[in-house]
Structure formats: structure tokens, C-alpha cells
Symmetry: C2
Subunit: 291 residues, 2 copies
């Protein structure tokens, strides 16, 4: 592959390893992170550190973003010292954050006016997928820009699908999060029920994991609950945020989504009552509280 | 295995094939079904047909029951011409229906007074599991009686677990149904969301099926939804009934089970508004209705 000038903004649990894969593939990498210490491991491996997103954009033909929420992406793009100030016509920005689909389309339209393409490219596969370079990437936005950056996405993604116009990646991620959240709630209520009945959880899991109740959530999270491990994985406060984004979209779409409304309320309650930094399997701790 | 005198009451989608496996294993089989025509295929293969459950019990050392709900089991056991009238001391009744855990314990205590053991042994694995003899069987009740009938259960069951005293099988099944129902709702809301967004469902399923949103429900039911197949599988009205049983138990246990309460309400609404005989994947048809 041609060595390319690549930027990366947001070196968290996901972004850090993803940027590492781009570096390992031989690209010329410039990074920025709000907490500068997070840049150090990449700096030691030959990456440069920009003083601002603007610096990163000025040094790169393609810039990846991996931050938490809509206002964070807006700040990185259009705030003082933002990517928009440094990006040159013909460059591509790939936003791997999970944010509002509508805001994504607005950001893309705004950047298009200066000849910069914005792709939404949210991820699934978790911290493990980021470390192993096996993420699933759901891309929305200009198809030609997507084809140009696809080889870069392949540095950390295994399953990469172009879903449609700007925002389509975010909407696909929402489908994923709607299903995930209800699967996690099902697991938590099922185990909470078994606990209240005084059942042997290991034995119950032997029965339910392999049959029609089976799910990724049950297979991966239920054993952690049995051994009292509530480390994230995927933290409660981000699940709550993702579900809030789903509800914002649902408000525009219409329709009955009572399960999604319920999970949004429960994950938010959990996040606001001391469980924010537990993994989503901590939902059972909300259900265990005395009424 | 020793040839045994075995009875079977209730030859529906599940019971019919299960009784067939007992016959294939060489046992001396006597059957009863409310709709007599259902007995014919087994009659042709050498089974005898009893005129009542009492007749079946009188001719058998072990009797299986596989009917729909608590009052059905009560009628088969204690109604006029019921099993209790024909059962001899030392015999075992194995109830494979999914019914109330509390009623099960009461029925078992009542039969124990005449020296008859009642085991609750609800199933998971569906019509396919019944046909292939690969059901999962969750057993509650006297452990010694269970060991005696285990070789018979092995004629149709692959994973057979003794979960505890009378009712423990039913409570394990409830755990299974609580999780299943929320997984199905997650799948239905996820696909309904994708539809309202105008997304390509096949492409969306490629993304979500293999990752953290994955479930048995998604893998097995979502493709049926895509091709418009709403045949049961597991019919809506039985899912609604099973969830009603869960809520009855939850009322005694206490605790927060808002997801289970929601699925009970939605599956009941679906069953009462024209979707009773669709498979549970038909939940999406409830969600598709104009608000």
C-alpha cells in the first residue's frame, strides 16, 4: 500500500489501538488527543503530535476522529483550532465516533463547501476488536471518498460496509445498539429472576446459553456476572448515550419503540446512580437494588 | 434399555414427535389426545390409544404430559377420567408443559399422597428439537424419580438437567423465556428502525448478526422477516402465555422486571389483535402498524 499522510484525533480505548494499526501499516501518522499523555506510546513509535486538530489536518490527507459524542465531534471539526481550519480541498475526514445521524449530515454538508469529504464510520467489536484490528465498520457518505480510504480502514477493520449516504453509518450503528441493549436487559432480567428464585446460576446458564435464549450478551457477559466482574467492556454511560441518540432519531421517524425507550431510561438511571463506569453487564446491579 | 410401559397425553407439535421417539426406542406406548385423529400416525406404528388419561395411566408406569397451560395440566391430572384416577403407587408422571411453578408444586404434593411422583420437565428447542430428538429438558422434582425416568427422557432430549425441587424446571424455563422475549423484541425494534430509515435490511443484518448484537433470535428469525415468513416456530399466543406465567412468579418474588412486563404486554397485544398464530418474529408486524 502507498504510504499516506494520516491523522488521528481521539486516542481512547478504541482510537489508541486503531491509530497504532495505521502506524504499523507504515503510514505517516500525526495525532492529537485532549489529554496529551495518551499520545506518548505512538510518539515513541514514530508518530508526530499536532498542537491542535488544525495541525493534524494540515499534515494529513485523511484524518480519523474517534471521540465520544456529537458536541465532541463538532468541537474537533469546527471549534477554534479545529480540523476545518487546517483541512485542504480533496482531503477526507473519517468520523468513527457514534453520534447523531442528523448532525453528521449537517457537518458533512458544511465541510463539502470547502471540498472536504466527511464519512461517518462508527464501529462495533469493542476494545478487543480495536486491539486485534477486527472491528466492524459501518460507513455512510460519499462512495468515491469511501473507496479512497477503504485501504486505511482495513488497517483496523475486518468487516467494512458502505451503508449509504451521510448518516447511514450512524443509523446502522443505532440498529446495532437497539438490539444490543435489549439483549443485555434480557440477560440481566433473566439472571436477576434466577437469583431471586435462589437457583444455581451456573446450571441455569448451561441450559439457557445454548438454546433459543442464546446471545452474544449472554455468552460474554453472564459469566462475568457470575464471577462478579463489572469492568467495562462497554461502559454504561456510553450505552445510555447511544440509546439517547436512537431516541432522537426515533422522534423523527415515528413508530413504536417501547423497548428502546425502556432501555434508554434504565441505562441512563444506572449511569446517573453510580454505575456509569461499570460495563453494561452492571445492569443487573440496578435490578438487584431493593425496590 | 428395558422395554417399559409408557404413556403420553398431548400429541401436538411437540408431543407428537416426542411420543414417536419413545415408540422408536421400543417402548410399549399408550397415548391420549383430545383430538383423537392426532393419535393415528402412532396407532399405525403400534401404539395403543386410551379412551381417557385414566386409561393411559392404568396401562403405564411412566406417563408424559405435553399440553399448553396450567388448567390443561390440571384437567389431565385431576379432571374426570384424569391420570390421578388410573395411576398406581410407584408410577411417575413427567409434565413437559410450560405452566405455573406454584401450581406444579401443588399438583406434585397432591399426587405424592397417592404415591405418584410428578416431575416438571419443560422443554426448549422448538418443533425442530422435538423432531430431531435434541430438546433441552429442565427437570424439577424428586431426584430419585428423575433418575428412574432419565433414560426415557433421553429418547427425545439431548441436554437434560435436574434443576431442583418441584417447580425448579418451570422456573428455569421462565428464565429462558424472559431472555428469549427480550431478544425477539430487540430484533423486531432493530429491524423496524432500519425499515423506517429505508435501509437495505440484508446489508444491515450482515453487520449486526455477527457482532455484539448477535442472538439466536436474530440469526433464526431476522432472515424469515426479510422473506416475509411469519409461520410459527413458536406462536405468539404461547409466548404471551409463558410471559404471563413469569409475571405471576415475579409478583411473588418482587424486584424490577420492566422488560418482562413490557414484553408480556406487547406479545399479549399482538396475540389479541390478529397475530396469535404467527411465530414470535411477527412482533415486527405489531410495530409496523401505524400509530
Amino acid at each position: 500500500m502507498n504510504r499516506q499522510r494520516v491523522g488521528f484525533v481521539g486516542l481512547g480505548i478504541m482510537g489508541g489501538p486503531m491509530a497504532g494499526h495505521l502506524l504499523s501499516a507504515g503510514h505517516d501518522l500525526t495525532v492529537f488527543n485532549r489529554t496529551p499523555a495518551r499520545c506518548d506510546p505512538l510518539l515513541e513509535r514514530g508518530a508526530r503530535v499536532g498542537a491542535s486538530p488544525r495541525d493534524v489536518a494540515a499534515a494529513s490527507d485523511v484524518v480519523f476522529i474517534c471521540v465520544s459524542d456529537t458536541p465532541d465531534v463538532e468541537g474537533v471539526l469546527f471549534g477554534p483550532g479545529g480540523l476545518a481550519e487546517g483541512a485542504t480541498a480533496g482531503s477526507v475526514i473519517v468520523d468513527c465516533s457514534t453520534i447523531s445521524a442528523e448532525a453528521t449530515a449537517q457537518f458533512a454538508a458544511r465541510l463539502a463547501r470547502q471540498g472536504v469529504a466527511l464519512l461517518d464510520a462508527p464501529l462495533t467489536g469493542g476494545d478487543i476488536g480495536a486491539r486485534n484490528g477486527t472491528l466492524t465498520v459501518m460507513v455512510g457518505g460519499d462512495a468515491e471518498a469511501f473507496e479512497r480510504v477503504r485501504p486505511l480502514i482495513e488497517c483496523f477493520g475486518k468487516r467494512i460496509l458502505h451503508m449509504g449516504p451521510s448518516g447511514a453509518g450512524q443509523r446502522t450503528k443505532m440498529v446495532n445498539q437497539i438490539i444490543c441493549a435489549l439483549n443485555v436487559l434480557g440477560m440481566a432480567e433473566g439472571l436477576a429472576f434466577a437469583e431471586r428464585c435462589g437457583m444455581d446460576l451456573d446450571k441455569v446458564l448451561q441450559v439457557v446459553t445454548s438454546g433459543a435464549a442464546g446471545s452474544w450478551a449472554l455468552a460474554n457477559y453472564a459469566p462475568r456476572i457470575v464471577r462478579g466482574d463489572y469492568a467495562p467492556g462497554f461502559p454504561m454511560h456510553l450505552q445510555a448515550k447511544d440509546l439517547r441518540l436512537c431516541l432522537e432519531e426515533i422522534r423523527k421517524l415515528g413508530g413504536r419503540f417501547e423497548g428502546t425507550a425502556l432501555t434508554e431510561r434504565l441505562f441512563r438511571e444506572a449511569a446517573e446512580s453510580g454505575l456509569a463506569d461499570q460495563g453494561t453487564q452492571g445492569m443487573i446491579n440496578l435490578l438487584r437494588r431493593p425496590g
